[in-house]
Symmetry: C2
């Protein structure tokens, strides 16, 4: 709010950061279900009641961690996307998918927090949706770029799914063909299936070269939504 932030505000953000950092440590050790304000306070040498000046409840601390996790993942995906600017939609798709996987492997407990089992007794407030949508918006943007440069095939769509496809397109990307939006939502879920299986250990003793495996599967997902490698002499400027 003020350009020259006072020492008070600075101290507050520092303590807030320390609380979240310690909470993330506990998340890794005990899981989200056992996250306790008291334990965080003890570890920080504070008294539990003091924490309530920073987070009104345990659930608010959880919400803050969830938003941070979504934003951290979103930033990783966005910077990967930016690094592929001008190299075409397929390349961007791959970079974003690999960024999601890389972030998840580097932050397995935060990944579990946002894409794993729901925390019993906790329901995320709508405050989280903006951060949660970042990767999805990025994927939509990639497909849109391909669509505008005519680099997008039309996936098949059975008649029974046509009403739902129209709904999805109207909700998420009215400028894109409904078949594409539908395929994109499916690919989105499937991407997290691949990542989740690797992060949660389902690929242990099954898949060895997980990076190559993932690269191939992510490429197949791109194909499924209609992304194709740019033709020689493609119309894009």
């Amino acid at each position: 709010m003020s350009t020259a932030r006072g020492a008070r505000a600075r101290a507050r953000t520092e303590v807030t950061a320390a609380i979240k950092e310690e909470a993330r440590r506990q998340l890794a050790a005990e899981g989200a279900a056992k996250l306790s304000l008291r334990a965080v306070a003890r570890e920080l040498g504070m008294v539990s009641s003091a924490l309530y000046r920073y987070f009104p409840s345990r659930d608010d601390l959880l919400t803050a961690l969830i938003i941070d996790a979504y934003d951290s993942l979103g930033e990783a995906a966005e910077s990967a996307h930016a690094s592929g600017a001008g190299e075409g939609p397929v390349r961007c798709w791959m970079l974003v998918c690999e960024a999601v996987r890389g972030w998840a492997l580097a932050h397995p407990h935060e990944y579990a927090l946002i894409y794993g089992s729901p925390v019993p007794g906790y329901t995320a407030p709508s405050t989280t949706v903006a951060s949660a949508a970042r990767v999805g918006l990025l994927l939509i943007g990639i497909v849109r770029e391909a669509h505008q440069s005519k680099g997008l095939a039309r996936p098949a769509l059975p008649a029974e799914l046509r009403p739902e496809a129209r709904r999805l397109a109207a909700e998420l990307a009215p400028d894109l063909p409904p078949e594409v939006v539908t395929a994109l939502v499916a690919a989105w879920a499937q991407l997290y299936g691949l990542v989740g299986f690797e992060v949660f250990g389902q690929f242990n003793r099954v898949v060895e070269d997980r990076e190559a495996f993932f690269r191939h599967a992510a490429g197949q997902l791109a194909h499924g939504v209609g992304l194709v490698y740019p033709q020689a002499g493609d119309p894009r400027g």
Copy 2:
């Protein structure tokens, strides 16, 4: 072991079942992380130490619940598969996928137990692998049937993934083409991505007609592993 089981053995299995039932109730209410032997015992009117006659530790109770969940899912998938006998591999694939989804929606907490975030401090013993493999073996069997009746296309496979594909085929299904086995493992993970997103609420306010959406996505997965609808005059007897 004995054909005429005595009253002792019968009582034992009954108490064991009651313990697991109550544990499942707690699983739904509080999550696996907070599953407590004492609470189970209290609810059953027993004393906590008595439970140790049935389960040597809390982790063993958890393991039993995990095996039961895998077996329950496996049975659902297997009976769906059996119901489609003679209707061709694509039909069987769809039936199994829909059975997995149906079971997961009917048992969300048990689904979270086996395919959600790992339980902190718990690592599943190798006792669980046989039950955990049932759905996977079913999918392999479907693909094998298609392969034997020449109803299987060969998916693409980049050179970089060829060694891993050979490893996977040797491990999981030496009689099937490595490209197919690789695509199958990817489809397997992607299937659980679709199911997990629905069960864990990621599709809330996004996908409305989830059954039709899933059916289509599962059909695309079948296509991805090389399954094709039987041709007119297909060579299968």
